[in-house]
Amino acid sequence: MATQVVMEALSPTMEEGRLVEWKKQEGDPVAVGDVLAEVETDKAVMELVARVSGVLLRQTVPAGQTVPVSSPIALIGQPGEAVPAAQGNGAGAGAPAPTATAKPAATPAPPSGPAAPAQEPAGTTRVKASPLARKIAQERGLDLRAIPGSGPEGRIVLRDLEAARPARPGAAAPAPGAALRPIAAVPARPGATQPFADAPLSQMRKTIARRLVQSIGPVPTFYLTTEVDMERVSEAREAMLAAGSEVKVSFNDIIIKAVATALREHPACNAWWQDDHIRYWNEVHIGMAVAIEDGLITPVIRHADRKTLREIGAEARDLAGRARDRRLAAEEYTGATFSISNLGMLDIDEFTAVINPPEAGILAVGRIVRKPVEHGGAIVLRGRMRLTMSCDHRVIDGATGARFLQTLKGMLENPLALVW
C-alpha cells in the first residue's frame, strides 16, 4: 500500500509551504533521505526528504503551489502499484487530508503495508511519539520536541530515544517525581559546562508575571534607553581598518561583541521565559535582525562572547547574505538567547524593538550622531549613539536591565574592556 508524503513543518513556526521544485519525478526510485522537493517555508527554502523507500508514484501537488503543513503532496509505493483514486486526487491547497483509506474487501487485514495514518489537521505541530517513547521521555526528562522521529510520519519511537540525551546533560535520569531542574539560587555563570540552568519561579516572580501580563499583554515589556559615547569605538575601528584585514569590522560587529561580553556579566538578562520556569543560559547566542524582502529574519551568532571581532564580522556578513537569499537552515535562525536590532544605518535616532519570545530582551540600536556634549569640562562635538533595551518584565526587572546597560555602555566607551 502506498505511503503518503505530507508537507512537513520544516521550521518551528511554519504553517504552510510553497513547493518550489520537485527533485524527484513520478516513477523515480526513492530511498530514505533522498531529497523529494524544495519547499519554501516562512523563513527559508528547505529540502523535503523521503521518509520511506520505494517509487514516487504520484505528485499530488504541482510545483509553485502552497499547501498547509500536514497536507498530502505525494505518494511513495512499489513499482506498478495502483494509486487509489482517493489518494491520487484532491490534495490541492487547503484540501482536507483524508483520514483513512478504504480497504478493498479482499485485502487481508493489515499484514502488508502501513495503513494510511490519520492526518493531523493542518497547522498543528503535535509531537508524534509512541506511548512507550512518551513514557521513557518523561522518566528521563527528555524533550520530545528536540528528538527527530524515525517512524512513519516522523513518529518518535524507542530507538530514537537511545541516541537522545537528557535535556540537561549531566543530569542523570531523575526518578519520577524528583525535582526536574537544578534549583539555581543565583543564575549560573556563562562559561559553565552546562549550556543553561533552569530556575523554578519564585512566588514573587509568578506574581510579577501574572500581574504584568494582565496589564499590557502576553509579553509585559518595558524599555530602557541610554546614550553611549562612541568616539573611542570609532577610534578603535579606524585603527583596526588601518591595520588591514580581509574582514572590515563594522560598528554592528563591535556592538554584538560588546553585548555578548556584557551578557556574560549579567546572565539574568541572558534568559528565556518558559512559562513555568526561567531558563538562564550559560551560553551566549546573539540573534541579529536582518531585513529581507517582505520581512525580517534573525540569524544567530552562536557563542558570540567567545568569538573574536573578526570571526563575528565574517559570520555576520555570511549569515546576513544568506538570509537575504533565504538560504538559512532552521538551526541558523533559532536558539538565540538575546537579540539586537540595528536601524542606525537607516538614520533612525532611537526606537523600540519587539521582543522575540522566549528571549527576555532585545536591544534596539540607533544611529551614531555627532552632537555637542560636555566632555572634560568643555562642550565638544562627539559621536553619540542611543541604545534602547526592551525587557520582558517577567524575567528582567528595571534595575537588572539598567545594570546590564551600564556595563554595556562602559564597554563601548572603553573598548579595551572587550579584550579583557
Binding site: A105, A106, T107, P108, A109, P110, P111, S112, P114, S130, P131, L132, A133, R134, K135, S150, G151, P152, V157, L158, R159
Partner: protein, 325 residues
C-alpha cells in the same frame, strides 16, 4: 516421554477420562463403528461398548441437544462434531441451552459437556467447509473455548475440559491431527485459561493459537536469522483469555502482532488488541497489528486459498512493520 500424534493424544485423553469416570461418554457421527472420521475415537467402542460410545444420525442440532440434556442430568458427555462447519446447525443448543442453563436456573443446573471437533480450513474443501468459528463461541458468556496447538496441550486440555463443570467448546485442527510431539504419560492435565510461551524472545510478541502457532514459530525462526528475537505466545484457551501472560510479554517486547486463522472483523485478535492497548498502552512502541485470514469466503482455487491463509511470511512482514524496519 512418548511421542504421539495429536489425534492419539486426544484419544488417550478420552480413554483415560472414560476409565476414570463412568459418567463420561462419547457421542457423534461415526464415532463408534467407524472409529471417528479422523480416527480420534479409535478403539473406544471396543473398550467401552455402545452405551458409552454412541453413533448418531446426521442430526447435529438433535444430538447436541441430547448432550445438553444428558449433562443436565449429571452425565459428562463429549459431543463430537465431524467438523465445526457442520456445528452451525447445532449452535442454538450451544448458545441458548448449554451457555445459559447455569445462569437461568439460578446456579442449580450446570452443563458439564464438551463439544469437540476440528475447526478452520484444511486443504481445498471449499468456502463452506473452511471456516474458523472460535470468535462465534468466544463471544458468548457461559461458554469456554479451548484450542490446543500441540499433542501435549491437546491431551492436557481435553482432560481439563471433560472435568470442567461448564460447557467447553473444544476446537481441534484437521491439519494438526497428524502432528507429532512428546506427550506426558498418564495424568497430564493443562488447566484451562492459561496461555503458554512456546518460544521466549525479547523483541516482539506474536500472539497466536491453534494452527497459527506453527506459522508463528516458523516466522520466529526466519526472524532469528535476521537478528530479531520473537516471543511466541500460544493462547491455548480463547475464553477465558489469559491477559496476564500476553501483557507480561508485551511489557517485555513493546511490540505485538496477533495472528488468527479466522476473519478479521470482530475476531479473537480484535479482543487481544483491546486487552493490550487498554492495559499496556504505555508499553507500546508501535500499533498492534493483526494477521488474519483474508476477509473473504475461502477460495477453492489452490493458489487463492494459499493467498488467503495466514503464513509465516505474512507474520514476518507484520513484525517488520512493528519494528519499523
Amino acid at each position: 516421554m512418548p511421542v504421539l500424534t495429536y489425534r492419539d493424544a486426544l484419544n488417550s485423553a478420552l480413554r483415560e477420562e472414560m476409565r476414570r469416570d463412568d459418567t463420561v461418554f462419547l457421542m457423534g457421527e461415526e464415532v463408534g463403528v467407524y472409529q471417528g472420521a479422523y480416527k480420534v475415537s479409535r478403539g473406544l467402542l471396543d473398550e467401552f461398548g455402545p452405551m458409552r460410545v454412541v453413533d448418531t444420525p446426521i442430526t447435529e442440532l438433535g444430538f447436541a441437544g441430547l448432550g445438553v440434556g444428558a449433562a443436565m442430568t449429571g452425565l459428562r458427555p463429549v459431543i463430537e462434531f465431524m467438523t465445526w462447519n457442520f456445528a452451525l446447525l447445532a449452535i442454538d443448543q450451544l448458545v441458548n441451552s448449554a451457555a445459559k442453563m447455569r445462569y437461568m436456573s439460578g446456579g442449580q443446573i450446570g452443563v458439564p459437556a464438551v463439544f469437540r471437533g476440528p475447526g478452520g480450513a484444511a486443504l481445498q474443501l471449499g468456502a463452506q467447509h473452511s471456516q474458523a468459528f472460535e470468535s462465534y463461541y468466544a463471544h458468548i458468556p457461559g461458554l469456554k473455548v479451548v484450542m490446543p496447538a500441540t499433542p501435549a496441550d491437546a491431551k492436557g486440555l481435553l482432560k481439563s475440559a471433560i472435568r470442567d463443570d461448564d460447557p467447553v467448546v473444544f476446537i481441534e485442527g484437521e491439519m494438526l491431527y497428524n502432528q507429532k510431539g512428546e506427550v506426558p504419560d498418564g495424568e497430564h492435565v493443562v488447566p484451562l485459561g492459561l496461555a503458554d510461551v512456546k518460544r521466549p524472545g525479547t523483541d516482539v510478541t506474536i500472539v497466536c493459537h491453534s494452527k497459527t502457532v506453527s506459522a508463528a514459530l516458523k516466522a520466529a525462526e526466519q526472524l532469528a536469522a535476521e537478528g530479531v528475537d520473537a516471543e511466541v505466545v500460544d493462547l491455548r484457551t480463547i475464553r477465558p483469555l489469559d491477559a496476564a501472560t500476553v501483557l507480561a510479554s508485551v511489557a517485555k517486547t513493546h511490540r505485538c502482532v496477533v495472528a488468527e486463522e479466522g476473519w478479521p472483523f470482530a475476531g479473537v485478535g480484535a479482543q487481544v488488541v483491546d486487552v493490550v492497548q487498554r492495559n499496556a498502552f504505555d508499553e507500546l512502541d508501535a500499533p498492534v497489528l493483526r494477521v488474519t485470514g483474508a476477509d473473504v469466503p475461502m477460495p477453492y482455487n489452490r493458489h487463492l486459498e494459499k493467498a488467503a491463509k495466514v503464513d509465516a511470511g505474512k507474520l514476518v512482514d507484520a513484525v517488520g512493520q512493528v519494528l519499523y524496519r
